[in-house]
C-alpha cells in the first residue's frame, strides 16, 4: 500500500488525511503506527528528497546565480515546488495592496508541503501561551494547557530530532531528559552578539531546530515513543537508523538528501508507508468534505490533477491538514442544506481570527568582524543561538506599551558568497571600484549581522478570510479565498520596539545600522502572511458558539471531522508554530485511535 492513483484507491479507509506537511505527516504517522488504514491526499506532485535535493550545488550552476525570482521566491535552490505567495492558476483576492493591511498567502504544491523548505526552528509554546486571555484579557485562551501538550512535545522531539538545551527560563519550557540533541557550536558572530547583548540585559541561549546534530538513538527512542507496540517500535527504529546526521553544509531550505533535518517525507512518511497502512495519492486537490445522511462526514471530493476529473474517496474519519487557510477554504466550500455557510461553521467562526507572526528586521555592519581569517561557518545553517522573549516583568509592570512578546532570530557569518555578498556596499566603501573594491569586499565579507524579530499577534475581528464574494474560481473551478487583514496597536508597537532593540544591540557591538531604524510600527512590520506562520481560522475552544473545534481538534458540528493543522490555534505565540502543530496532531490522532477502538468513530 504505497503511492496509488485515484483509480487504485481502496473503496474505503479508516481515515482520510488531507495534506502531507507537518500536520498531515504527523497524523498519518501516529494513526498508521497503531494500525489504522489511512489515505493521504496531497494536492501537489510526488517529491523525493533523496533524488531531488541540490545538496552541494553552487550559485554558478543556477540561472542568474540562483537569485530569487517570481518562479522561485526563496532562490533557485529552495526546495519549494510550484509555490510562493502566488501559485500559477490558483489566485486569491485581498482587499488592499497597502503593505500594512494586506495578507499574502504562501502555498506550495508538493508532497511534504512546506516541510521541505521551512526553517526548522522548533520552539515549544509555554504555559502562558495557552492561557493568554487569562493573563492580559486579550484574545482567547486555548481549551488545553501546556501540561496537556508537554508529553507530545517530548514525543515529537524524540521522533523528528531537535537540538537545543534546557535553560529553565520563564515560559520557555524545558524538555524531558533525553529529548534534545546537543546544539551546534556558536560562530564568532554569535559569541559577539551574546557578549554585547548581555550588557543590555538581552539573553542569548542555544536555539532549537529540527536538525540531527548527531544520529537519533534508535535503540531507546522508539520504546519511549510506542510503549507496548513492538511493531511500531521496529518501524520507527528502522526509519531512525536510515537517517544520516548533519553534514554541516548546504542550506536546510533545499531539503536534505541524507534526511538529517525534519521533512515530512523523510521522517513521518517512510515508517508510515513501511507499516503497510498508508496509501498516498498525489495530485489530488481536495475541495469538499462530503456528508452522509447521518450528518457525519463520509469522505472527500477532490480533483485528480492528472486528468482534471472530479473524484471521491471514502472514510470513517476525515482529518484536514491542508494548512490553516486551505483547510478553512475546504470547509467553506463544503456547503449543504445542513451547513449553508460551510461545514462545521454553525458558529460562523470558520475563517475568523487569522493570525501571522509579527516580523521586523534590521541589518548592521560590525568592524570587529571584518577581515577575519578563513573558517568554515556553514554550521547547522543558522539559529545556533537565539533570544527568547525576556521582558516578562517589564511587560507585567506596564512599561512596554504593548502586550505579548517576541523572540530574536539572529544571523551572521561567512556564508556561501553570491548575489548579495557585495551588493549595495557603497555606503561603506565610498563607491570604490577596481583593486580597492576587491579589497573592500574581502574586508566586509562576513561582517554583516541580521536581526529578525518574531512576535505574537493577537487575534482580531478584522483579520479573516471568506469565499470571494466576487465569485472568482481557480483553474480547477474551486472558489477562492478573499483575505482581510489588520494589525492592532500591540503588533505595531512591538515591531517598533524590535527596531530599537536591534539597533541598540548593533551599537553595543560597535557596529553601524544599515538604513534607517524605523520607529513607525506600520512601516517596520512585515505584511501579514510574510512570515508564513499563518494560523487560526478554525479555532479550538470550550464553547461551540464561539469556536470551531474542541480541544481534541474535533469539529463541534461533525463528530468525525478533525482539523489538526494551524487552523485550530487560539493564539499565535512568538514561538514558531510547526512543533506545536505536530504535538497537537499527535495528541488528536491518539484521541481518534482511542475513539475508533471504542467504536465511537
Amino acid at each position: 500500500m504505497p503511492f496509488v492513483t485515484a483509480d487504485d484507491q481502496q473503496s474505503s479507509y479508516d481515515v482520510i488525511v488531507v495534506g502531507s506537511g507537518a500536520a498531515g505527516g504527523q497524523s498519518a504517522y501516529t494513526l498508521c503506527m497503531d494500525g489504522a488504514k489511512v489515505l493521504m491526499l496531497e494536492a501537489g506532485r510526488k517529491y523525493t528528497a533523496e533524488s531531488e535535493t541540490p545538496m552541494f550545488q553552487t550559485p554558478d550552476m543556477a540561472p542568474l546565480a540562483g537569485v530569487a525570482t517570481p518562479d522561485k521566491v526563496f532562490g533557485f535552490y529552495d526546495a519549494t515546488v510550484d509555490g510562493g505567495w502566488q501559485v500559477p492558476g490558483e489566485p486569491y483576492v485581498r482587499t488592499t495592496e497597502d503593505p500594512s493591511g494586506s495578507f499574502w498567502w504562501w502555498r506550495c504544491r508538493m508532497l511534504g508541503g512546506r516541510t521541505s523548505h521551512w526553517g526548522r526552528i522548533s520552539l515549544r509554546n509555554g504555559p502562558y501561551d495557552f492561557k493568554p486571555r487569562s493573563r492580559d484579557g486579550l484574545g482567547f485562551d486555548w481549551p488545553i494547557a501546556y501540561q496537556d501538550l508537554a508529553p507530545y512535545y517530548d514525543k515529537v522531539e524524540l521522533l523528528i530530532g531537535v537540538y537545543g538545551t534546557n535553560e529553565g527560563r520563564e515560559n520557555t519550557p524545558d524538555s524531558s531528559p533525553g529529548c534534545l540533541l546537543p546544539p551546534p557550536a556558536p560562530l564568532v558572530s554569535d559569541l559577539l552578539v551574546k557578549q554585547r547583548a548581555a550588557r543590555l540585559g538581552v539573553p542569548l541561549i542555544p536555539g532549537h531546530r529540527a536538525v540531527l546534530t548527531r544520529a537519533l538513538d534508535h535503540k531507546r527512542n522508539p520504546a519511549r515513543l510506542h510503549p507496548g507496540n513492538p511493531s511500531a517500535q521496529k518501524l520507527t527504529a528502522e526509519a531512525m537508523r536510515s537517517r544520516g546526521a548533519c553534514l554541516w553544509a548546504t542550506p536546510c531550505n533545499r531539503g536534505c538528501s541524507v534526511r538529517a533535518n525534519y521533512q515530512s517525507i523523510t521522517v513521518h512518511l517512510p515508517p508510515a508507508l513501511a507499516s503497510g497502512n498508508l496509501d498516498i495519492t498525489t495530485d489530488a486537490m481536495v475541495y469538499e468534505v462530503t456528508l452522509g445522511r447521518d450528518g457525519r462526514a463520509n469522505g472527500v471530493n477532490f480533483i485528480d490533477r492528472t486528468t482534471g476529473r472530479q473524484r471521491h474517496a471514502s472514510a470513517r474519519v476525515v482529518i484536514l491538514t491542508a494548512s490553516a487557510c486551505e483547510s478553512v477554504r475546504i470547509l467553506l466550500n463544503s456547503r449543504s442544506t445542513q451547513f449553508p455557510q460551510g461545514l462545521a461553521n454553525s458558529s460562523g467562526k470558520v475563517g475568523r481570527y487569522l493570525m501571522d507572526t509579527v516580523g521586523s528586521s534590521v541589518r548592521g555592519q560590525v568592524p570587529l568582524l571584518e577581515s577575519l581569517p578563513p573558517m568554515n561557518e556553514d554550521a547547522a545553517d543558522g539559529h545556533q543561538l537565539y533570544v527568547p522573549w525576556w521582558l516578562y516583568k517589564e511587560q507585567l509592570a506596564g512599561k512596554l506599551g504593548f502586550a505579548r512578546g517576541y523572540h530574536i532570530e539572529y544571523g551572521g557569518g561567512r556564508h556561501m558568497p553570491g548575489y548579495t555578498t557585495a551588493a549595495g556596499i557603497e555606503w561603506l566603501t565610498g563607491g570604490s571600484y577596481g583593486v580597492k573594491f576587491k579589497q573592500d569586499v574581502r574586508r566586509y565579507y562576513g561582517s554583516f549581522v541580521y536581526f529578525d524579530g518574531r512576535g505574537e499577534m493577537i487575534p482580531n475581528e478584522n483579520s479573516y478570510c471568506e469565499i470571494d464574494p466576487g465569485g472568482l474560481k481557480d483553474k480547477w473551478g474551486i472558489p477562492v479565498l478573499r483575505f482581510h487583514w489588520q494589525w492592532s496597536e500591540h503588533e505595531l508597537r512591538q515591531a517598533a520596539h524590535m527596531q530599537r532593540t536591534f539597533a541598540d544591540i548593533i551599537s553595543a557591538m560597535g557596529g553601524r545600522v544599515q538604513g534607517v531604524v524605523e520607529t513607525d510600527g506600520a512601516k517596520a512590520i512585515a505584511p501579514g502572511g510574510f512570515i508564513i506562520h499563518e494560523v487560526g481560522g478554525a479555532m479550538m475552544g470550550v464553547d461551540p458558539r464561539y469556536s470551531v473545534t474542541n480541544g481534541w481538534c474535533q469539529t463541534w458540528d461533525v463528530p468525525n471531522l478533525f482539523i489538526t493543522d494551524g487552523a485550530v490555534f487560539a493564539s499565535n505565540a512568538d514561538k514558531n508554530p510547526t512543533l506545536t502543530i505536530m504535538a497537537i496532531a499527535w495528541r488528536a490522532s491518539d484521541h481518534i485511535l482511542e475513539r475508533m477502538r471504542r467504536k465511537e468513530l
Binding site: 531531488e52 535535493t53 554558478d60 540561472p63 542568474l64 546565480a65 540562483g66 530569487a68 518562479d71 522561485k72 521566491v73 526563496f74 535552490y77 510550484d82 505567495w85 489566485p91 483576492v93 485581498r94 482587499t95 488592499t96 495592496e97 499574502w104 551546534p184 557550536a185 556558536p186 564568532v188 559569541l191 559577539l192 553534514l247 554541516w248 553544509a249 533545499r254 516580523g359 570587529l368 573558517m375 568554515n376 561557518e377 556553514d378 554550521a379 544571523g411 561567512r414 556564508h415 556561501m416 558568497p417 553570491g418 555578498t421 557585495a422 557603497e426 563607491g431 571600484y433 577596481g434 583593486v435 573594491f437 576587491k438 569586499v441 565579507y445 464574494p469 466576487g470 478573499r482 482581510h484
Partner: protein, 211 residues
Amino acid sequence: MDRRTTIKWVLAASASWRLARAGSTGAAPATRVDPTPALKGYGTDPDLLKTYHPGEVWPLTLSVPQRQLAGVLADLIIPADEHSGSASSVGVVDFIDEWVSAPYPDCQRDRPIVLAGFAWLETEAAERFGKGFAALDAGQQTAICDDICDPSRVAPARREAARFFASYRDLTAAGFYSTPPGRKDLGYIGNVPLTHFEGPPPELLRKLNLL
C-alpha cells in the same frame, strides 16, 4: 536567499505584478493575486540538479559591441590582482547578458538602466576623449568612472549614470563572487561535508576577547 531579502524583493516587485480587479461586493476594493501569465522563465518546478549555462533557458540579447563594453567595464570594477583573475575571465559578461535578457521583473527593471548606461559611457567617452569607451586608455576610463562611482557625491547631471554604475557594480560582483574563483578570493571554505563542526578556533576567540 533569506527571507528578509525576499520580503524587500517581493515588495519592490509587487508593483509590476498584474493586479487585475476582480468583481467584489461591499465597500472594500479587491485585488486578485495571480502570477503574470506571460512570464517565460525556468518555471516553478525546474530541475535543480542540472548545471545551467547563460543562454540556455532564455536567449542572450546583448550585441557584440555591447558585450565588449560589458567586459571592459566589468574588468574596471573587478580587475585581476594577486588574489584572483578579472571579472571577464570567469564569465561575468555571460552572467550580465543572462541577467539583462531574463524575463523577471528585477532583470527587466535593470535592462534599460544597463543599456542606457552603456550609451551614456559611449557618449561621455566621445565627448571628452573623442573615442569609444573601450578604446580609451585606463586613465581616461578611470576619469569617467570616478565621476559616477559614488552616488552620494555625484553631480546632479550624472545621477542616472551613477545609478547605472551602482547597479552594474552589483551585477559584476554577483557574477564574480558566485564563481569558484570568487569564493576562493573571499576565503570561503564551506560547502564541504564534515563529520563534526568544531566552531571557531579558540585562539581567534581569545584574540577577540570572546572566550
